[in-house]
Symmetry: C2
DNA sequence: TAGATTGTTAATCGATTAACAATC
DNA sequence: TAGATTGTTAATCGATTAACAATC
């Protein structure tokens, strides 16, 4: 039970720490220092220790953090210590890519259904699943108590899909379309428009090239 | 020429503003207020005005912002007023999805090549392009002065691909693999691991369910 | 003119960092 | 013990917000 309000920034860094730990575990390490995590993630070591301190004392002074222990702790904090069921709407290239992505299962997610409205796609395979008619969306979400929905449909259909997911009881939406959609209060929306990421970095690219140009002259 | 240092957070919000404006333009609007943009993006209107003020005075008091004008201004600031060439490495589900994604072209990006190391994929189509052998990667990046690379290969191959992209001259990397990779100084790395996004939101989902559970009891 | 909305200031708030005592 | 590294404090830094005069 969390009494303290944890800053948003802290939460957003935890998955990165977890990613590093999982990678270190695979390469056979048993402990790691905040300095080492900082090197890999490019995050200040003091901040890493401070972030973790919000949730308790996980390290040993002079030694560092036990990797297996910290993985368990972080998974418990994030809620990835148990399985989460998700549905994917849209069985195009992107939807199929997400459905077939093994990193989902590896980190505690199970895709229970992939939907599409296109009759030529319904019945075909996407990952381990058979694509189903989007008209079954509400029933599936309710029956399986699905809380996470992924939108991988064209921009024009995104809002309608979001509305249907929300009213069926989904609490987290990951929007892969380029549409700006809105959701009711209580539903968390994550826009993962890859092009928006690119636009963001373009700014720094332009600045870097300007500076290179000035130096060259 | 920017004399003032613009906060990172400001830059990261500009693509959202641009997204709203593009959408409003399509629905036939001609002006918009910071209050309206705030509603859509869920960003404080005062912050929107303050963000824009870093770059000049773009609005009319009592009226708002001219949508067409502000689109141009933002595109110029971000550097999306001219075309950027990108290469995609990995022609699996995800690489193909990105290659075929029309939102890229719509916002000033052109995919010049898709690479893979799998002989059964080389020569097949991905979007408008034919998948090429990854051994041609360096030559293509150099000849076409490509500055942006997208990694859509399995985690185990990600670091090697990143190294090759960087040494060939790429300045921005969008990493879609789940691997934590490192890049030299001067290269901007964007990790777009979809599962990391999900993990992040899980935290809030768990808290929300806890609270709902408490209330129900 | 009256109403609306910007651009900007000043106050608040929160996040980051450096430093170091505690302690393994 | 000596060296290392945490947990935590205190200081800095930057981002957010409310409020309002300027002005369309």
């Amino acid at each position: 039970m969390q009494l303290e309000r944890i800053p948003h920034g802290v939460i957003s860094r935890l998955p990165s720490y977890l990613g590093v730990l999982l990678q270190l575990r695979q390469s056979g390490h048993s402990t790691v220092s905040s300095a080492r995590i900082g090197e890999i993630t490019d995050i200040n070591p003091a901040q890493i220790r401070r972030d973790l301190a919000h949730f308790g004392q996980f390290g040993k002074r002079g030694v560092g953090y036990d990797i297996l222990d910290l993985i368990e702790r972080l998974q418990a904090i994030l809620g990835s210590d148990h399985v989460h069921r998700i549905v994917i709407v849209g069985a195009g290239h992107l939807g199929s890519a997400i459905a077939a992505y093994d990193g989902l299962r590896a980190r505690g997610f199970v895709v229970v259904a992939v939907f599409d409205s296109d009759a030529t796609k319904i019945g075909t395979r996407a990952g381990d699943l058979v694509v189903r008619d989007v008209s079954e969306l509400e029933r599936t979400v309710r029956e399986q108590a699905v809380r996470i929905g992924v939108i991988a449909v064209p921009a024009t259909a995104a809002q309608e899909v979001a509305d249907r997911l929300c009213s069926a009881g989904v609490r987290v939406i990951l929007n892969y379309s380029s549409a700006m959609i809105s959701v009711p209060a209580g539903v968390t929306l994550h826009n993962t428009d890859p092009v928006r990421e690119l636009l963001h970095t373009l700014y720094y690219l332009s600045r870097a090239e300007e500076m290179a140009g000035l130096q060259a002259e």
